[in-house]
Symmetry: C2
Subunit: 260 residues, 2 copies
Amino acid sequence: MIGIFDSGVGGMTVARAVETLLPDLQIIYYGDLARTPYGNKSPETIIQYSINNTEFLLSHGAQAVIVACNSAASVASETLRKKFNVPIFEVIIPAVNRAVKTTHSGKIGVIGTRATIRSDIYARKIKLESPDLKVFSQACPLLVPLVEEGWLTARETKMILRKYLAPLKQEQIDTLVLGCTHYPLLKDLIQHRAGKNRVRLIDSSIEVSLSLQAYLNKNPDFCEALGHDTVNKYFVSDITKAAINTAERIFGRHIDLIKV
Amino acid sequence: MIGIFDSGVGGMTVARAVETLLPDLQIIYYGDLARTPYGNKSPETIIQYSINNTEFLLSHGAQAVIVACNSAASVASETLRKKFNVPIFEVIIPAVNRAVKTTHSGKIGVIGTRATIRSDIYARKIKLESPDLKVFSQACPLLVPLVEEGWLTARETKMILRKYLAPLKQEQIDTLVLGCTHYPLLKDLIQHRAGKNRVRLIDSSIEVSLSLQAYLNKNPDFCEALGHDTVNKYFVSDITKAAINTAERIFGRHIDLIKV
């Protein structure tokens, strides 16, 4: 059983990608809607919440955990790896690896929440891989509320995106990392505003699923030991109409959210 | 000592109003930044958090509590009054009373978070006072993030406000209740978009302070028993740069936030 947690329902873009790529896996999801969002909280608080969420998933049978929240992945992954004895996947490193392989111009853009961008983790990890690359980061704190409101094609969303992306465009990036699991819902708009034929978008929800797949291929024993119940479970710490709607928007079908 | 709680720093507009009107009172403030915002959470969760916050304030010596968060006031005030044996003030009823006295046309607008508007509390309380009045409500979920980003005069904020206020304008309201403690920071913009000479704004942070003042005048014994230490204390459950900035924007001076 693969555990996935996020501050809310945005991480369901990861669950959907895992479901698409590895349909035999059983997923157990935990969305911390009672304390969402994480992107505007301090590192200490985000680490504490990430430990709580991982404990919840393990106590419900998870044999590996995906940190499907960039804010949590950026500040809490190392702590989780030290503290828990299961494979911990997260959305940042797979996206970093893809970005490094993708860029030709050597100029990579990263967008994310305030917590993710402030941690500077993407820039640090990219430069660790390839010190000559240039990384341009931009915090986009209003995108999560806009997505959660369902304003996916609103004029205001387009304007705010243009404002956020203008400095990256000016730097002539050719690769843009979507450093927040909510952003795939704005993929078309972001692609359009970033430059249609010039910029390749890196979707961390897809990249982390591919890295999980690669791990399973390399570790057949682990793969064998995984539970293969057929029902995925979606737990949340709070339940609201807006969350139900966003979940449906992500999966394109109704999702039963279980309040715990 | 007067306790004030809010989901974050928005309720500091209430603290500032109390400080201005009743400078001798000692204020103890609690901002639940580790779980902010409340406006997108369920009533059950908001009630639980409000109980936690009230217990914190009482354990630190508060002799009365102001619920300075409309989302909490709208769903949790009755529970708090039943559970705790101190005067509980909140931001809704004073604003309702003022709105009922202010309107001439009998058409009142209310703006607030999703939780506040969904609770329908303003409309219910206004109609209880005066059944013939018409109330037009509008959830404005993006305003809190915009204020917290400091986009107080941004073009995008103006456009989003125009979108939110258009249906109220069409109904020709003459009174508009600012049903969220963040909104006083957007007062000028809201006044402009709602109609400069036609619409009177009701600021709940001022109204609740006036109602506290009236209570103290009527209850000299209670007033006498209040602690009059001179230092106000601002506790928060998490601390971030954005919160520090918003606090400064509200008070117009530096505020020491104490993380608990």
